[in-house]
């Protein structure tokens, strides 16, 4: 089984004793999972090289034959390519000869990928096509006679595109992406990717916190109106909005949060809570940033959908983003915002998507606080690996899907995580 072959022995099977979940309902998470190197290494094996599909990028990033993009699955360097026949492929970016990174550029177009060290050359699908002096030179020998190009290619991965989203896996056993997404998530992915998209570029954030804290964050509607004060300061969003909060039924690792406008009474609701964030005095000099043009059946202002372990699909007003989450050690991760629009956008709509980019990303009016929050948790918990968080909001009605005041998705996430990690 490739998964095992690819795994470092000092990791395999090592179930860190540092980690104990005091409850089975996902409501108590030992802080060790956010800082332990052993846990992190185990995640690389059991999650990122396990029975999951990792998001690599958009097909729209590599439209032409030969196009490629360098990225990661977990922290393993991986390249996604479009072969001459138009097929998608992905392989581990490590030369079969002596292990050098083969593809040294972030993106580009190439009919062959040649390792600079000794120029072993691979095709876009990762097959080894030539080895300099393989047959030696004149009477001088080259590679052994039995050396077989076919069995010395790059480590090739299973790849699938789901409506233009490119996923790859190390696993031979996991089912197709549609099945992996499951019955609850599929329709919402389809909602956003119902027609061809164009890639508008990406922005990156590097957060000094564990990658799972970001998954907690995007599964946490409770924080939205409390941490992101832009909402309330400028009257954009309310906890009282019509909500739809849906976990994945298979393993609970995916989820979606939908919110639709509905302003009645909510400022009173806030006043009751005496919440600091409430303020009626401010207004924007240029409110155009908050306009919304209806593009879908329901007029949702927010669609936040996490597809474990590397993807978050987002629609906020008219800005569309596929967020990729890349772990970089127990205490940091990179977040890549892939902005896109639809191929048939008119100029005005395209301009609107760019303008609304101000709402999200590293300087996003309603997103910049998220990495700040995950870092606060990292710093607050690092010395206390044995203590646990308290994740009880909405616990008594765990199955209600019509409220944003809940941590139910986070609890489901941790239950799924324990299963996958065998903790």
């Amino acid at each position: 089984m490739p998964d095992l072959i690819e795994t470092a022995p000092h990791i395999a099977g090592a179930a860190p004793d540092a980690v104990f979940f005091p409850r089975s309902d996902g409501s108590r998470v030992p802080y060790a999972v956010f800082s332990s190197q052993e846990i992190y290494d185990l995640e690389q094996e059991r999650i990122f090289r396990g029975p999951t599909w990792s998001f690599l990028g958009l097909e729209a990033e590599i439209p032409e034959p030969g196009d490629f993009k360098s990225t990661y699955i977990g922290d393993t360097p991986v390249v996604m390519t479009r072969a001459a026949d138009g097929e998608l492929a992905a392989w581990v970016n490590r030369c079969a000869h002596r292990g050098a990174v083969v593809c040294r550029r972030k993106y580009g177009n190439a009919t062959a990928h040649t390792c600079v060290y000794h120029q072993w050359a691979y095709d876009p699908k990762g097959n080894l096509t030539s080895v300099p002096f393989r047959r030696g030179q004149k009477d001088k020998p080259g590679m052994p006679p039995d050396f077989d190009l076919a069995s010395n290619g790059l480590r090739q991965l299973r790849v699938e595109s789901y409506r233009g989203l490119v996923f790859a896996t190390f696993s031979d056993s996991v089912g197709p992406v549609a099945e992996y997404l499951g019955a609850e998530m599929g329709p919402y992915v389809d909602r956003i990717f119902h027609k061809p998209v164009v890639y508008l570029g990406c922005t990156r954030q590097f957060a000094k916190s564990n990658w799972k804290l970001y998954f907690e964050n995007v599964k946490d509607p409770y924080h939205a109106s409390l941490l992101h004060l832009f909402h309330t300061t400028f009257n954009i969003f309310r906890a009282g909005m019509e909500a739809n909060v849906i976990p994945d039924a298979t393993h609970g690792l995916h989820s979606i949060i939908l919110a639709a406008k509905n302003n009645e009474q909510t400022s009173d609701a806030y006043k009751e809570q005496k919440i600091r964030s409430f303020d009626e005095n401010f207004s924007l000099k240029d409110p155009s940033i908050l306009e919304i043009r209806q593009e879908y059946a329901e007029l949702t202002t927010n669609h936040i959908q996490s597809i474990f372990p590397q993807l978050v699909i987002q629609q906020i007003h008219n800005t569309l983003v596929a967020r990729q989450v890349l772990p970089k050690g127990p205490d940091s991760f990179e977040l890549v915002f892939h902005f896109f629009g639809y191929a048939d956008d008119d100029e005005e709509m395209r301009a609107m998507r760019i303008k609304q980019a101000n709402l999200v990303g590293p300087a996003g009016y309603i997103s910049m606080e998220d990495t700040e929050a995950t870092e606060l948790v990292q710093r607050g918990t690092i010395r206390d690996a044995a203590l646990s968080s308290v994740i009880d909001m909405g616990l008594s009605a765990a199955d209600r899907r019509d409220t944003l005041i809940t941590e139910t998705l986070i609890r489901k996430f941790w239950i799924g995580y324990q299963t996958l990690m065998r903790l």
């Binding site: 972030k106 954030q205 000099k285 980019a357 590293p362 300087a363 606080e369």
Partner: protein
């Protein structure tokens, strides 16, 4: 004497004032260095080089810049920090009466409230300036940053 050299000196003074405003907590003064109908954009070099539009900040008029300041002062949550900008390598690109294009390198060192200073961002300013009754002002300022991985978040403008 050489008019270009004098212009250079005036525009260097503008750049110096620009970073002094940002680094010494005079954010409200920041939009006043632009004309009303302006462009202020922060965009990663990887997008700029590929002709892709996705920005980190994109203001197509001065009011949007004022809104940004308002939000930073009253709404957004971010860690206390101090910027120090360095600018160097100023080149005038095209000069006409009362207008000019220029480019320069910048470096932003950020210090957190523990007192540790790190390289926050390096990049390039691509500016258009116009002469107004109040002196030189930015018609457009494109901030093209090399440091693609934004550390944690970007609050204070560059």
């Amino acid at each position: 004497m050489d008019k270009l050299l004098m212009l250079r000196l005036e525009l260097a003074a503008l750049q110096d004032r620009y970073i002094s405003v940002l680094d010494n907590d005079r954010l409200e003064e920041w939009p006043t260095l632009f004309v009303e109908d302006c462009l202020y954009e922060i965009i990663p070099k990887e997008n700029y080089d590929r002709g892709l539009p996705a920005p980190v900040i994109h203001c197509d008029n001065r009011r949007m810049m004022e809104d940004r300041v308002l939000s930073l002062r009253n709404a957004n949550i971010f860690a206390e920090h101090t910027y120090r900008h360095m600018v160097s390598g100023l080149e005038l690109l095209d000069v006409t009466d009362g207008a000019a294009g220029m480019t320069s390198n910048y470096l932003v060192i950020s210090t957190n409230n523990e007192g540790t200073s790190t390289i926050y961002q390096a990049g390039r300013y691509i500016d258009r300036v116009v002469l107004t009754p109040d002196g030189w002002r930015y018609k457009s300022k494109r901030v093209v940053y090399d440091t693609l991985r934004v550390a944690t978040l970007l609050a204070t403008p560059i």
